[in-house]
Symmetry: C2
Amino acid sequence: MAKAIQKRTLETRARLIAAAKDIIRENGYEAMRVEEVVLRAGTAKGTFFAHFRDKDALMDLIIGERIDEYLDDLQSLPAPDTPKKMAEALLPLCEFMTSERYVFDVILRYSGAAAQEEIGTIATTFGRQVEILEGWLKTYSYRNDVSSELLAEGIHAFMIQAMALRFCALHNATAINDRLGPYLVAWLQPKSG
Amino acid sequence: MAKAIQKRTLETRARLIAAAKDIIRENGYEAMRVEEVVLRAGTAKGTFFAHFRDKDALMDLIIGERIDEYLDDLQSLPAPDTPKKMAEALLPLCEFMTSERYVFDVILRYSGAAAQEEIGTIATTFGRQVEILEGWLKTYSYRNDVSSELLAEGIHAFMIQAMALRFCALHNATAINDRLGPYLVAWLQPKSG
DNA sequence: CGGCATTAATGACCATGGTCAATATAAAAT
DNA sequence: ATTTTATATTGACCATGGTCATTAATGCCG
């Protein structure tokens, strides 16, 4: 049996999401409070949790949506033909992901598909990102001793690493791309065995 | 001026830590509640926060201590001469780090030196780990087109990636080492340019 | 219509981490 | 020993996410 979702439901949900986005636009992701969302949306608190498993589930949705926009941009770009250019192409996405400590935390938490069962929006975007990277890797052959899937996963790992070090007191002097660039060169164009 | 810490302070602190460890031993990391710690230690709640910035700071301490033990083990081992053996050597540490979703979350949060200013225990262990890896990399030359520091950071990135995928609904079928092994082979012994 | 079943919304309530002005204790100065 | 200062402890209180039994809409059917 289909769910038979009422129109009202969709409206309420839309109002909640809109309210959350407003708050984020005004004061950033970290500032989002369920109470405030619910107040602006004109619903009771319980309603929020009838629509979203928890606060993070809504964050996952909103952040994931945003990531998807960056991936759209990436996809409209020509495949970069050097590791350095690749790092540059990925920079805007990295910058968004690290725009707030809180945002990066949510992404880390959900990228590993935190919510055990369901695959959330962010986790989905990660799959998509790996696909885009694989496309790039097939366009220009960087190295061919390993599968492009493995290469793509590696790029992902290095992105996370470069971003994480941004928040590290010991290492935050270096810009993301001054770190990601060398990583990708070493990963995609090793000089020898 | 030195702080002139009282003996009492150290005792209280020790009681708090001991209580927390007891709870963890009995019911796991996730189960640790400040209220319960304080109850067992026989102090007021406020005392807890006079000793630790927040709950996570204590977790950082306890988990970091544990990681240090694993690093001691690693250090007492002979340097592994192949990427595969390296992955095997790192397995116990990886298993501890992923023993609970919550533990991995704390590690991720604090590895990037979450608490902006102070360098916590976990962040410190990460520095130490990189040192150990660098030692290994210098003993047997894997590849020499890049610095061993960069290589060590890469190994770290791949460890995180392999562990994160453990919690991913899409990828949790693969064992950590079936993933880490290939990563390290590709990273440390690339076959060509 | 007017009942009837299904789905949505409500808000009082709970769990838990965290704060802070007030108080008690220890160490130093007289 | 008494006063003074520094440090540690306290617990009532707050902030915020999350729950759930109850109530209200909605839509269907005769």
